[in-house]
């Protein structure tokens, strides 16, 4: 029925498109210019020459190492999430014990706890167990804070598996473990890839835990590297923009190939 074009919203969305796209354009075009040229032309001008030197500078100034660290953190977080969340969601959806429904409320409550609220005790805890300035110390709390939303998303997917399928398995004498591996996991592939992508995004973009829990160059992750680069070489704007661009490339690649999983995860996050 809504077939008449809505000019007001159309114009609004076009303006918004410019607001989103212009900074991204300035960022990209800046990375391909020398510092002098960028300074002379101004950020909004069209580049007149082309250089990749800014990217080379960014990588050689330590970002190679930071990338490696971020990859380690991301892989660790995704591994923990994939190990813990599917059994948890399975119990929440299928267990008849009261404890399981209590646990679900407990995780819903967890959604409301901001990381800042617990950062001091987490710092104390990580210090006490000797994991300060260690990537494992970053991985553990980051994974813990990814659990509530991932549980919400995955248990939503698992609820769509019909009772008949479970009953058919039970009829054949299958144990809960067998039902989990033969029925639940294969049928929740979509949800599992969503939580993998979503927790990876959180880990990749994480800032507060690495800021508080690491200090040396050898454990620095990309987001902290950007912050550091800015405080140290704030006037080298093309170099800074190249570093920012590099930090975005993996996420944009994932967006390109796993857009559905990401958007579903974000929608799930909104539905909380």
């Amino acid at each position: 029925m809504k077939t008449r074009p809505n000019y007001f919203a159309g114009i609004g969305s076009f303006v918004w498109l410019l607001i989103v796209a212009i900074p991204l354009y300035v960022m990209l075009s800046g990375t391909f210019q020398t510092r002098e040229e960028f300074g002379d032309n101004g950020p909004l001008s069209f580049p007149t020459s082309f250089t990749l030197q800014n990217y080379v500078d960014a990588i050689t100034s330590g970002f190679g190492r930071y990338f490696l660290n971020t990859v380690v953190v991301t892989v660790g977080v995704v591994a923990i999430v994939l190990l813990l969340v599917p059994p948890l969601s399975y119990a929440i959806v299928r267990s008849q014990s009261r404890a399981a429904s209590f646990v679900f409320r407990f995780f819903l409550l967890g959604l409301a706890i901001p990381a800042q609220a617990v950062i001091v005790p987490v710092f104390y805890l990580i210090n006490t167990v000797g994991l300060y300035d260690n990537l494992i110390g970053v991985i553990l709390p980051t994974a813990a804070f990814a659990l509530p939303i991932c549980t919400l998303i995955l248990s939503g997917t698992m609820r769509d598996i019909t009772g008949e399928l479970y009953e058919a398995m039970a009829m054949d004498g299958a144990s809960p473990a067998r039902a989990f591996f033969r029925l639940v996991l294969p049928l929740s592939k979509g949800g599992i890839s969503t939580i993998a992508v979503f927790s990876a995004l959180q880990a990749w973009n994480g800032f507060l835990f690495p800021l508080i829990l690491t200090q040396s160059e050898s454990t620095r992750v990309v987001t902290l590297g950007l912050f550091n680069f800015q405080t140290q070489y704030g006037i080298n704007i093309p170099g800074l923009l190249a570093a920012v661009t590099l930090s975005m490339v993996p996420v944009l690649l994932v967006y390109l190939f796993a857009r559905r999983a990401l958007v579903q995860g974000l929608m799930g996050a909104g539905g909380k």
Partner: protein, 315 residues
């Protein structure tokens, strides 16, 4: 769509009783509580235990070395009489209000627009969502570079930005933080509204246009009321998000000029991790949790969300 999914997820016990309990078959092969145990313990260790610990630590003095020492109400007395703390709470409130006021109309407009089914909208929304994928750190560093007084956009558009030092004044710095927050989070809220707008039954619009209601009337009489639950979710997320804004403040303004953008979440970081006064930091963290919970409860109460059963009432 989103609201329906939420409602279903919000009733964890609901799926079990509604299923006819066939004797034998239904209890055989059900997983025990043990399946939930590893994740629960892990989460409790890093979120719930620390939440309790932060309350305890707020009554101690600890500099990061040695053990925390019990000091009673000292930290709380310090905070109550600390002008920066009081100012930070007002600034946080200002941030929240400005964030909600700027992001909500825009994301409703964009979300409803993107919910339409023309093909170009899918392509455009793919671009809209890009800021959502980027880390707050990258976004803040990007905007700091773009707004650089000498080499950034203000220098080139001096007719618009004057001397270009946007971050040098309080109103300029707040404006930049609100704008960057909008740039970063509007896509997310747009996405929520888009999902909800797609879920509005078409029959409502058909009935309205038979009754002669125009597009504007339809928007205000159908779309907006139907988006009510979503708006509450979205506003609560904005409130909590605004209250805990950290990276953007740290990287863009570092709380300045002076303490003019030192919002409470940033002040907590300064007290705990720059002044190494973890007791006071913990007290501020506790204030954050309490304020976030209170505001969310007020939003839920005022809107009557707790009494509402369905946005599809009367259908």
């Amino acid at each position: 769509m989103t609201t329906l999914a939420t409602r279903r997820q919000a009733a964890p016990g609901g799926s079990t009783p509604s299923r006819p309990a066939r004797s034998g078959a239904s209890s055989v092969g059900r997983p025990g509580f043990a399946w939930a145990l590893p994740a629960t313990i892990f989460f409790a260790l890093f979120a719930l235990v620390p939440l309790a610990a932060v309350a305890v630590l707020s009554f101690t003095s600890w500099s990061g070395l040695g053990d925390p020492e019990f000091v009673g109400l000292e930290n709380w007395e310090t905070l109550v009489s600390d002008p920066v703390m009081v100012k930070s709470l007002w600034l946080s409130l200002l941030f929240i209000v400005l964030g909600v006021v700027t992001q909500t109309p825009l994301s409703i407009l964009l979300g409803v627009w993107a919910a339409g089914n023309q093909r170009n909208r899918a392509v455009l929304s793919a671009i809209y969502f890009i800021p959502l994928l980027l880390s707050s750190a990258a976004i803040s560093v990007l905007w700091r570079a773009l707004l650089d007084p000498n080499f950034g956009i203000p220098g080139q558009l001096s007719w618009l930005f004057g001397d270009g030092n946007l971050l040098g004044t309080q109103s300029g710095a707040i404006g930049v933080l609100i704008f960057v927050g909008m740039w970063q989070f509007t896509p997310f809220h747009t996405l929520i509204y888009q999902g909800a707008a797609k879920g509005i039954p078409n029959v409502l619009y058909q009935a309205a246009s038979i009754d002669g209601a125009g597009m504007v009337r339809q928007f205000f009489s159908i779309t907006l009321p139907q988006l009510r639950n979503t708006a509450i979710t979205s506003i609560i997320l904005m409130v909590v998000g605004g209250l805990t804004t950290f990276e953007t403040v740290l990287i863009l303004t570092n709380g300045g000029p002076g303490t003019d953008t030192t919002i409470t979440a940033f002040y907590m970081y300064q007290e705990a991790f720059q002044s190494f006064d973890f007791g006071v930091g913990s007290a501020i963290a506790l204030v954050l949790v309490v304020v976030a919970t209170l505001i969310s409860l007020v939003v839920v109460k005022v809107s009557g969300y707790d009494k509402m059963n369905s946005s599809l009432e009367g259908l």
